[in-house]
Symmetry: C2
DNA sequence: GGATAATGATTCAAGCTTAAACGATACGAG
DNA sequence: CTCGTATCGTTTAAGCTTGAATCATTATCC
């Protein structure tokens, strides 16, 4: 998986790590999320349900911030989940700009059933690394994701 | 960035590493690719141009395999690049099922100008890790991306 | 208190992405 | 050679995603 790129040693090293990071995230993500089709859930929909399960009701702004998505996206995903009866949306009484999204009973049942499958799939994929290596991967990802300088 | 999830220690560890992997790839990818807007290129379009630059002309099937994208996607991205005069498509004479995609002179000029910027952005982001850590990250990503068992 | 600015949600246009269905082409068994 | 199968590209429908524009609501400043 060399890069076929002629540049400085530092550039080649960074490029190589970057490509592997992107491809790993994409490949593992696709394999992990394959089971979502069983319940006709998209990755975005699953993300919203999971956030609501583990964090409780949230306004769409906070939901978007958590999931790194735009407000317009939250509106659309919320529309679909609401149409399926999995979430309920309600204007906040104190500040009528906010729309609070919460799981319905059906939504809670669904995500409570789907999430363990998801966690199991992740554990299965990450079993390619020893526990200590999983921790190391997490640490490196966190640092590069934050975007802080090296020293 | 804890997971708010109650499961076995192994599951929590895997989930934590998985989330950090996905978020790192997303955050770093977004920052790295921000410069593409300068030339009105999407990530998918850039990927095709870059593959053609470093690998030479390819049929759409191989292009899709390289970029982990479907054939339908290659057709659409190819349409847009062709409309902009950045690539040329030609039926293979020997096997008329294949369509070979190649850079035009304009396409080559563009990607030759854009790619160094991209490599520089990647080097800048990866500078959050020391060289040795970049290599370690690449190795871990490669192993987990491959999906092979641990030992 | 009233004008102005900021914020949250929605809508829209554009493009990406996939899966499935389809047509054209090539290959292989008989 | 011919029929059946496999492969490649295209099309289509559905949904995701973004950025920009817009509307309603709230906060701020004088």
């Amino acid at each position: 998986m060399g890069t076929h790129f002629r540049g400085t040693a530092a550039q080649v090293r960074a490029l190589d790590a970057y490509i592997k990071l992107q491809r790993a995230a994409e490949s593992v993500g696709a394999r992990v999320c394959a089971h979502l089709a069983t319940d006709a859930l998209t990755v975005g929909q699953f993300g919203v349900l999971e956030a609501l399960l583990h964090l409780g009701p949230l306004c769409q702004r906070d939901l978007g911030a958590k999931l790194l998505r735009t407000g317009g996206n939250m509106t659309m995903v919320g529309d679909h989940l609401e149409a399926r009866g999995l979430v309920a949306r309600r204007r906040d009484a104190r500040n009528r700009r906010f729309v609070t999204v919460a799981l319905t009973a059906a939504g809670r049942r669904l995500i409570a059933r789907v999430f363990p499958r998801h966690a199991a799939a992740i554990a299965h994929e990450l079993a390619a690394l020893r526990p200590q290596e999983q921790v190391a991967l997490g640490r490196l990802c966190r640092r590069v994701g934050r975007g802080k300088p090296a020293e």
